[in-house]
Symmetry: C2
Subunit: 192 residues, 2 copies
DNA sequence: GGCACTCCTTGATGCAAATCAACCTGAGAG
DNA sequence: CTCTCAGGTTGATTTGCATCAAGGAGTGCC
């Protein structure tokens, strides 16, 4: 049993489930993300692959030895965990206080931002992003139902905030407009 | 400017605020909890004392030197941060999927558990806990309005799940009943 | 072709929690 | 003693989202 894994390619989701089946996604694992905890074997959450996935699993013992031996590793891991904690806390604001429309706009802008960070290319035309999640997965992430997700996406489309190309592809003519709809303050954090 | 602080006594809350004033509490700082991040100066959240508070502030430089010098410190800090992350994720389930009644029951049971962990004494009679928060602060924590908090507390009282002694003091005749109302699976995590 | 399936959209209806509003209680302050 | 003000309760009404329900579009299989 390895206690720590590292996503190499693909997307996985971290979800919590209640006895009666209500589900909440609590994290999205993208390439380069770590899962698991050094020093604990039982996982508190379900980890589900949402696409084909390649992960790199570390053996418990050697990994812990490395942690002790090289302080930089522990420090780097700490920093990554603190980033995740910040992201989780931003998400708590979304779950607790945002409207359905704001939630959708937030999700799209987060995906857009992550995409931009990944590709690092300045595009002049409208931003273009792929949604790596089904409507149901988005609903689980946002604390909504899939019907509400679908309706709010349609509404944002009708209002010209986004354009759809097929079900999974979104064009963003005006990113500031989208951020405004997301209710984030201008400079806005919200990295995942 | 110190980057890291440690609560010695009292209670502080970590909150996020939107431009229009909507607020979400994203963490409760109790004695022994750490705030802040090594390596970053700007805080992403408001930290507000909800009671008189004594904190221990570390100077940035010496703290970071200590981090590098003693791997145990970094590891311990990592572990604490991972615990906080777990707690944040449990909280996301609450915010995204639980009903108002379940949220209140969850909050009370969390406070009860923490209390029990602190005092370590087996009591035979009904559990007795003090709520360290006003109704409004509970509302900010749970993603509700203060009126709903008040109503649900009254409802739980009427249904015999809890008993009130004054506004801030709660008796729990049957902790399992309360946990059931909280919607947590029996053995249940939910530490804060 | 027809069938089964997943994913998605849209409409009608219901309900839980927000909102708006009034009032209660206790603690200082003058 | 009265005034004020923060914290709390409770009631009436509204509303945003969930729920229930039907149907469309794409894909793979026989």
């Amino acid at each position: 049993m390895s206690s720590v894994r590292n996503v190499l390619s693909g997307i996985a989701s971290l979800t919590q489930t209640m006895e009666d089946g209500r589900r909440q996604m609590v994290g999205l694992l993208l390439p380069s993300d770590f899962v698991g905890r050094p020093g604990r074997s039982a996982a508190a959450f379900d980890v589900t692959a949402t696409t084909d996935l390649v992960m790199c699993c570390f053996r418990k013992k050697p990994f812990e030895e490395m942690m002790s031996a090289t302080p930089h590793v522990a420090q780097r891991l700490l920093e990554m965990t603190l980033d995740e904690l910040d992201a989780a806390r931003e998400w708590m604001l979304l779950l607790g206080r945002k409207t359905a429309r704001e939630k959708i706009a937030s999700l799209i802008s987060i995906i857009a931002r992550r995409d931009a960070a990944l590709h690092l290319r300045k595009r002049t035309g409208p931003l273009s992003v792929d949604l790596p999640l089904t409507r149901e997965e988005m609903a689980d992430y946002l604390g909504l139902t899939l019907e509400t997700v679908s309706r709010q996406i349609s509404a944002l489309k009708k209002d010209g905030v986004i354009t759809l190309e097929g079900n999974r592809h979104v064009l963003i003519p005006d990113i500031d407009r989208l951020l405004e709809e997301a209710g984030d303050d201008s400079d806005g954090g919200m990295l995942v």
